[in-house]
Symmetry: C2
Subunit: 199 residues, 2 copies
């Protein structure tokens, strides 16, 4: 006999599949739901299906959108000469939140990885080149995570974009604002020194 009655056990198992939720958290959430009014549960449940049905990926930048083309790509006031390259659709919101960027985006959906057989076609490089030509893009800002895969993907993009006469830039590496030298790792401090700027 299972530990809980079947419908409770089922739901715990479903929640355990979500990222960052272990058996204890799943149990806690399910018992929390048990005490909620039915209408609140319906709301959560419907929001989930609704999101899945409504959210598509923008046919131009592959960011999230409820329409064929997302609100950023449709926005006439944005600078179409700049494209910011991010790994995931969720990264677009992170950059948008800063309010520092007014260009367009391109979501790769992954990073180059010869081991996992992920080549340029899998990360939508042809679509990027198409956009670059269509908008006569002048600058491509690489906003990938500073990891090994991020760096090598950035290197590849630079290699194919420079010959097209495009300026390729990347996010600065360095000490986080409000950070502490004592707690920063050596590689980050090294980067911060080599990329130092005049005051």
């Amino acid at each position: 006999m299972a530990l809980y009655i079947k419908s409770v056990e089922n739901l715990i198992n479903e929640f355990k599949k979500l990222p960052g939720i272990g058996p204890k958290s799943a149990k806690r959430i399910v018992f929390f739901l048990l005490k909620l009014p039915r209408k609140d549960i319906l709301k959560l449940s419907q929001s989930m299906v609704e999101m899945k049905d409504k959210v598509k990926f923008c046919s131009q930048c592959y960011g999230l959108s409820e329409e064929d083309v997302c609100y950023i790509c449709r926005d006439g006031s944005r600078d179409r000469k700049k494209i910011c390259i991010v790994e995931e659709a969720s990264d677009v919101a992170i950059i948008e939140k800063t309010g520092e960027y007014r260009g367009l985006y391109h979501v790769l959906g992954g990073l180059l990885s010869p081991i996992e057989n992920i080549g340029p076609d899998e990360i939508r490089v042809p679509k990027l080149l198409e956009q670059v030509k269509a908008n006569e893009v002048e600058e491509v800002i690489v906003a990938l995570n500073p990891t090994v895969e991020g760096e090598s993907t950035a290197g590849y993009l630079k290699k194919i974009l420079i010959p097209l006469g495009i300026k390729v830039t990347r996010l600065a590496s360095g000490i986080p604002v409000g950070g502490d030298l004592e707690y920063a790792d050596e590689v980050t401090i090294g980067k911060a020194i080599s990329e130092r700027r005049e005051l």
Copy 2:
């Protein structure tokens, strides 16, 4: 303008209401769901509503049940002379898992708290007394958490049950099995000393 498109934002807000899920975890879960096939999302969503519709509370012990009376209360092989008192319906499974107990249960659904206006009627004491009389119960095992509220509720139950000629016991306090004296707090070690047992 919100950070994400509306249906994504809505779902993140719904997930943030669950216990132990902050804004970052909620975002992570929602972007995970975005990549799942529709059928998996439907399954999670339906399991939630199904659980809410199916799960009732047992009319005798207030434990979880899909029927009017739960499988424990219906089980003729269980010792009806013993009732184990727990705070929450989820605690029943914790005791059951040990395999050490073969009596019945009574779920209080809370603990006495004069400040929050929770008295004996709110924690189903009348129903407990009814069960005690109907089954001619001989022992009541108090399995409440050893907190201030747990202790005072246990004290109250003892006060009303002893005059009925019922043996009232409680879970032993002490060092957890596999635990380390070095990491146990002083109150626990003190309890373990005062409640020491002969080898």
